[in-house]
């Protein structure tokens, strides 16, 4: 069974080149990819992730609002007891990476990250989360 991932654009940012490139790279690597389209609320992203039964949520953020939006999304997931791992990609200043990790984000991908590195990291994160789930 291929892994399913949700690529999501939260907030008002309309730049989706990165989201689409990553979606295609994951699809070519054998993932099933669901893409939300633009300007999705945190609530609708969480709902989509549950309904589509994905094993990972990838957020694409380029407006600088990555911290508050990610925080909202993580809170929403925790509130519902949802254990889907989250990764974030986009124009993220390096000093914000540890903050995102503290929020529970499993991976942060900056611009110009090689596609194969993203695919490898996402695969590893999904597999680790699956093992954790199995143990539980």
């Amino acid at each position: 069974m291929p892994y399913r991932v949700l690529i999501a654009k939260p907030g008002l940012d309309g730049h989706d080149r990165g989201a689409k490139v990553i979606a295609r790279a994951l699809r070519d690597a054998g993932f099933e990819v669901v893409y939300t389209g633009l300007r999705r609320s945190v609530e609708s992203i969480v709902t989509a992730a549950i309904q589509e039964d994905v094993q990972l949520i990838g957020l694409s953020l380029l407006s600088g609002a990555h911290l508050p939006l990610t925080q909202k999304l993580m809170a929403k997931l925790n509130e519902g007891g949802v254990k889907i791992p989250v990764v974030v990609g986009g124009t993220i200043p390096e000093q914000d990476i540890p903050v995102l990790h503290q929020l529970g984000v499993r991976g942060v991908f900056l611009p110009n990250t090689p596609l194969k590195d993203v695919v490898q990291a996402v695969t590893a994160i999904v597999e680790k989360a699956q093992q954790e789930e199995a143990v539980r």
Binding site: D13, D16, R17, K20, V21, A23, G64, A65, P111, N112
Partner: protein, 544 residues
């Protein structure tokens, strides 16, 4: 000397082992160009600057009389924050303003809307009502400075605000000059700040184009933009072709209103990304000038030469900026600026080297401005008009670019035209294909990006980035609250009700209603939601 003989001799000796290379967009480049590679007569294809078909430039004297406008895209926080940055940039020698709005303003939300909360004043200045514009342009003489607004779905509202703030300054409307981007078709494809469905969106564009033609003779009500196609992944050829195809739609819509072509076409302007392949960019601009002149003259029967002039601005930077080794971006932007000037640009924004991370700091923004000033005043490239004309390579590449653009435009026509292709997501998919192709070319090393896939090094030093000021939201919401308290609420309700009624009548021009609502201090969000009640919301075709 026999040129054909020469070329054959060179190819058999030196050229025997050389393979043609490619431009960034994939056009084939021969190792050597000779006079025979450029066909057609000089007068018909190149001619004089300021004369049809304008290949050498839209003005007869180009930079010798007036340098290009240096217009750095800028805006953040509240109107006070941005006004201070504008004054600093003008003091440093910038010659025009370019307003970056925050996302809520661009998608028609007020700063007190829940969805707006985390985005207020972040990627640009927050604007809710005319009160913000009064502060934004405080102390800036609008009869002497032109302003460009990167605004699309809410462009009619911003146009009305600019007009009214100029009026408050006592500036006659015939002297107000500037540009609203107002190119909604490309927002459906890239950048994504659409609000209403395609048809009502086009109605608003056409309303503002015809309104401006009647009331603001020096204002460009639209800047038909390829830049965002390009930065979303399009090749230079696609960028040019999709933009010219969009231009044709806007001209057709205005003609359908019964406005003669020569009344509005002289104020149509264009906007593009300039990337690092210098000659490809020069060829792109020369080819587009020639093509647009022909389209306007032959297809639309324009008679005023100004209707045929392809006036354009550019942005340098964007996707060519890298996160790795950020100072390299200074060099990239400088080469791109050179290409734009050799291509005959009218106004330019050179991005700062730290814009792959965040909006620029004051220091990096001023360095980006200096990049243009050094180009204008030290390098001598502006000393003569269209200095690359007659280059065997540049003329041949201009021809090749023109043919490729025409072929792509024909393909769009074959697929049902730009409007249908945008609604169905066809253009979106074509651009995503190219974005992915280019990313894989970088991954394989076929496309070199210094510092990314060649000459990588350990990242040196920390960048001092622009930091978001957390007090922005509160400061902006306070002004909005004060506006709501002090305005005449009854007048606002009446204006919005008139606007709603006008939206329901397809033949009614909407600009006069928007102007009155803005004058009464109705907000961007109030006007947008009023129109949305009638028009609805665009349903995005989600394509990967």
């Amino acid at each position: 000397m026999n040129e054909t003989e020469d070329k054959r001799r060179w190819q058999e000796t030196s050229g025997a082992t050389l393979k043609p290379r490619k431009t960034l967009s994939g056009l084939s480049v021969e190792p050597l160009y000779l006079p025979e590679d450029h066909t057609g007569t000089y007068g018909e294809k190149v001619g004089l600057p300021g004369e049809y078909p304008f290949t050498r430039g839209v003005y007869s004297t180009m930079y010798l009389e007036r340098p290009w406008t240096m217009r750095q895209y800028s805006g953040f926080g509240t109107a006070e924050d941005t006004n201070a940055r504008y004054k600093r940039l003008l003091a440093e020698g910038q010659t025009g303003l370019s307003v970056a709005f925050d996302l809520p303003t661009q998608v028609g939300l007020d700063s007190d809307a829940e969805e707006a909360e985390v985005e207020v004043g972040r990627v640009g200045v927050a604007v809710d009502s005319l009160a913000d514009f009064e502060v934004l342009f405080d102390g800036i003489p609008l009869d002497a400075i032109s302003t460009s607004f990167t605004i699309n779905a809410t462009a009619p509202v911003i146009l009305a605000m600019y007009m009214l703030v100029a009026e408050k300054q006592g500036v006659p409307l015939r002297k107000v000059s500037g540009t609203t981007q107002n190119d909604i078709l490309k927002e459906f494809v890239a950048r994504g700040t659409w609000i209403f469905p395609v048809e009502p969106s086009l109605r608003l564009v056409t309303d503002s184009v015809t309104f401006s033609a009647e009331r603001l003779p020096r204002f460009n009500p639209i800047s038909i933009a390829g830049a965002h196609f390009r930065d979303a992944g399009a090749t230079a050829v696609q960028e040019a072709a999709f933009t010219l195809s969009d231009g044709i739609v806007y001209v057709e819509r205005a003609l359908q209103r019964g406005m003669p072509v020569d009344q509005f076409a002289p104020r149509l302007s264009f906007y593009f990304y300039t990337y690092t392949d210098i000659f490809e960019e020069v060829a792109k601009y020369r080819a587009m000038r020639r093509l647009w002149a022909r389209i306007m003259k032959e297809r639309f029967g324009a008679q005023d030469p100004r209707s045929m002039m392809f006036r354009f601005g550019v942005v340098c930077g964007g996707k060519t900026l890298t996160r790795q080794q950020p100072l390299n971006n200074v060099i990239r932007v400088a080469y791109e600026a050179l290409a734009a000037v050799l291509g005959g640009v009218q106004s330019m924004f050179t991005a700062a080297y730290d814009e792959a991370y965040a909006i620029p700091t004051e220091a990096s923004a001023i360095l980006a401005l200096r990049t243009q000033q050094i180009l204008a005043d030290e390098t001598g490239v502006a000393n003569t008009i269209d200095p690359l004309a007659g280059s065997y390579y540049v003329e041949a590449l201009t021809d090749k670019m023109e043919a490729a653009i025409v072929a792509t435009m024909a393909e769009v026509d074959r697929l049902g035209g730009m409007v249908r292709c945008v609604e169905s997501g066809t253009i979106q998919r074509m651009i995503a294909d190219e974005a992915y192709r280019s990313e894989r070319a970088i991954a394989s090393g076929e496309q070199v990006v210094v510092g990314v896939n060649r000459y990588q090094s350990r990242e040196a030093g920390e960048l001092h980035l622009h930091a978001y000021d957390p007090s922005i939201l509160q400061r902006q919401r306070e002004r909005l609250l004060s506006v709501r308290r002090h305005r005449d609420g009854g007048a606002v309700r009446q204006c919005l009700s008139d606007l709603r009624a006008a939206c329901r009548e397809p033949e009614k021009p909407l600009m006069p209603y928007i102007v009155e609502a803005v004058r009464a201090y109705a907000t961007v969000g109030e006007m947008t939601s009023t129109m949305q009640e009638v028009f609805g919301t665009f349903q995005e075709p989600v394509v990967i």
